[in-house]
């Protein structure tokens, strides 16, 4: 296999409240021999909220991010479902609407950039599965996760809208996604099947509709707990933040104890590949994962 090279769009969260996501991603890439160039020029994707305020501006800023991946001639990979969605939505809008593309490029020309549409955009999860390959990952496992029941939590923005993700982002059936389950199996863990694995975590209305947010997170966490999960794993740091940071308040809302460690997808892979504790960075979690290593 020739060496895989990607341009990494880190997103805001991995640079601030979830540094463990960035360190574990880089550690996994190093273990697998995948070359990563961080797009230090990139800005925030707008997280769907900038899109609500000013959709055109959001397209301009996302197109600029993609320009820098295009300059490197690389596929842009994301480590956040919402970054993936918003970058891919801009790409789709510009690639299918020449008038919009021209209007955006008129702005980008002012800073010496041009969006061409030459780079694919892909979540790291699907780069690992579809390009590196599950069998190749399996060969590198040094700490099999066979002692862990793992609840995969897919996160909305990697699986819906399915049409957007069809071509280059996994192409999952949003009503029955399987990629994380397959990855867990490749790492020799036990994937938990539960109804809420493809549901919403509530992150995006945390401020204005707090009760909705808490109930959605609570439904998913409790479903995983009732299905005998030891940990939950997600490819989205926003799902992680909602599910990890708010378990106290979610417990109150749901009237039941909610205690479940929530790992980022790259942390789980890093664990199985034998990366260091510092690289995995579990110390940054609010809900501590205490029994991750085999007895």
């Amino acid at each position: 296999m020739s060496q895989l090279k990607y341009a990494l769009f880190t997103g805001c969260t991995a640079k601030q409240s979830t540094p463990e996501l960035l360190s574990s991603t880089l550690a996994v890439a190093e273990k697998l021999g995948v070359e990563i160039t961080i797009l230090e020029e990139a800005s925030c994707c707008g997280a769907s909220h900038l899109q609500d305020f000013d959709e055109f501006l959001a397209h301009v800023l996302n197109a600029r991010n993609i320009c820098y991946a295009e300059k490197l001639g690389l596929t842009m990979i994301t480590i956040c479902n919402t970054c993936q969605l918003n970058s891919a939505m801009t790409k789709h809008a510009l690639d299918t609407d020449p008038a919009l593309k021209a209007k955006v490029n008129e702005k980008l020309a002012e800073v010496g950039l041009e969006y061409k549409g030459t780079s694919e955009i892909k979540h790291f999860l699907y780069a690992l599965i579809d390009e590196y390959g599950l069998d190749n990952i399996k060969d590198k496992v040094t700490v099999p996760l066979s002692h862990l029941n793992i609840a995969p939590f897919y996160g909305c923005h990697n699986i819906r809208p399915s049409e957007l993700h069809q071509k280059s982002n996994g192409g999952e059936n949003p009503y029955n996604p399987t990629s994380l389950d397959q990855l867990i199996e490749a790492l020799e863990g036990n994937p938990i099947d539960y109804a809420h694995k493809n549901k919403c975590c509530g992150f995006h209305v945390e401020l204005q509709a707090n009760h909705t947010s808490e109930v959605l997170a609570g439904n998913a966490l409790l479903d995983a707990i009732d299905s005998n999960a030891d940990i939950m794993v997600t490819p989205c740091p926003l799902c992680h933040l909602k599910m990890d940071t708010y378990q106290d308040s979610v417990s109150k809302t749901m009237g039941r104890d909610v205690e479940l460690p929530v790992l980022h997808m790259p942390q789980m892979v890093a664990l199985a590949l034998g990366c260091t504790e510092k690289e995995i960075g579990l110390n940054f979690h609010v809900q501590k994962a205490t029994q991750l290593y085999p007895a």
Binding site: Q16, C44, F53, K107, V111, Y175, L216
Partner: protein, 334 residues
């Protein structure tokens, strides 16, 4: 038996009669399904070949009346439009038939859709205009005006998006995606004069678009590709464009992204909460903030106005320039 033309499958169908059953249950039916059969054909076959009491709504059989919507293995479908083999390809040879909303089930697949119609009606889903009852000419629209509907006029009120919406499941006041798509459809209509009113109705906290959780379930559920969440985003933008948006936690959160990106390139996660909530609203976040502080997710210095420890995007000047020349919307001061 598996041949090219037939597949043997098991259907588990939700059964419930609100008048006689204490709890719902599932009944299993086995049948060989031909490759050109629709989900509606399978509903018919359950009723005609297995159990005449099995109940579901159906009418036009042409994907236009919106009556025959159910869920197949959790996926909202219009039964008369969905090929059964496509569902078998997605979910295997055990198909589970559920009503759109189990908690609203009246008899088997039939639900009480009253909440849907009530919320749909609340956004004034009709053209409001003083129209000459005896016009001499038809009203004409340009191609650009027609394209601006973005297919929102294709909605057949089947309710698939409405009953797929998780925000609505938790918050019963929430109007839901179908009502919002209708609000967009009539607000964008060049004949209509109630646009501002509709934008105000859909800007209300709890009921309106700001409670959308952005899960895209509605986009996935729609059998007519209306893409309701796209219309929700359009309504958000229109509220700012037409000066309907008022300063509150949700609008400040959306606008605050520009402020933060202008300063850092990245979003300042701590600052966006402070900016959206205002200093008086921060008490709600103290407990969480302390927990995040303890594990190093945020830092003490984040709260100090004179310490700027935010990471900055490289070539930040480009981002600032692009915001300056591309920003189209503003948040009013009040």
């Amino acid at each position: 038996m598996f041949t090219e033309k037939y597949k043997k499958i098991t259907i588990k169908a939700f059964r419930f009669n609100v008048e006689t059953d204490y709890l719902p249950y599932y009944k299993t039916y086995e049948m060989e399904v031909e490759n050109n059969e629709l989900i509606l054909d399978l509903l018919n076959r359950i009723k005609w070949e297995h159990d005449g009491s099995f109940s579901y709504r159906r009418s036009c059989r042409h994907g236009i009346c919106g009556s025959c919507s159910i869920k197949v293995n959790g996926k909202p479908v219009l039964a008369c439009k969905e090929n059964a083999w496509d569902m078998i390809k997605l979910f295997g040879d055990e198909l589970i038939f559920d009503p759109q909303s189990k908690k609203r089930a009246v008899k088997d697949m039939i639900i009480d859709k009253g909440d849907f119609w009530e919320k749909h009606a609340a956004v004034k889903p009709f053209v409001v205009a003083d129209i000459d009852p005896h016009p001499e000419n038809e009203t004409k629209m340009s191609m650009a005006q027609v394209e601006n509907f973005l297919d929102s006029d294709y909605c057949i009120q089947c309710g698939n998006c409405h009953y797929a919406c998780p925000a609505l499941e938790v918050n019963e006041e929430f109007f839901g995606p179908a009502a919002f798509a209708a609000a967009y459809r009539f607000t964008i209509d060049p004949r209509d004069e109630a646009g501002t009113e509709r934008l105000e109705i859909t800007a209300q906290p709890a009921q309106g678009i700001w409670d959308c959780v952005k899960c895209f379930e509605c986009a996935e559920a729609c059998p007519k590709d209306v893409n309701p969440i796209e219309k929700i985003t359009k309504l958000h933008n229109m509220q700012f464009e037409q000066n309907v948006a008022r300063r509150n936690v949700a609008t400040k959160h959306a606008e605050g992204f520009v402020k933060s990106i202008k300063k850092n390139g990245f979003l300042d996660e701590a600052d966006i909460v402070l900016y959206s909530e205002g200093p008086l609203g921060m008490h709600k976040h103290v407990k969480t903030a302390l927990k995040m502080l303890k594990v190093g997710k945020i830092h003490f210095t984040d709260a100090l106005p004179f310490v700027d420890n935010m990471p900055k995007s490289k070539n930040l000047d480009e981002i600032q320039k692009l915001i300056e020349i591309s920003q189209t919307n503003k948040l009013p001061k009040i």
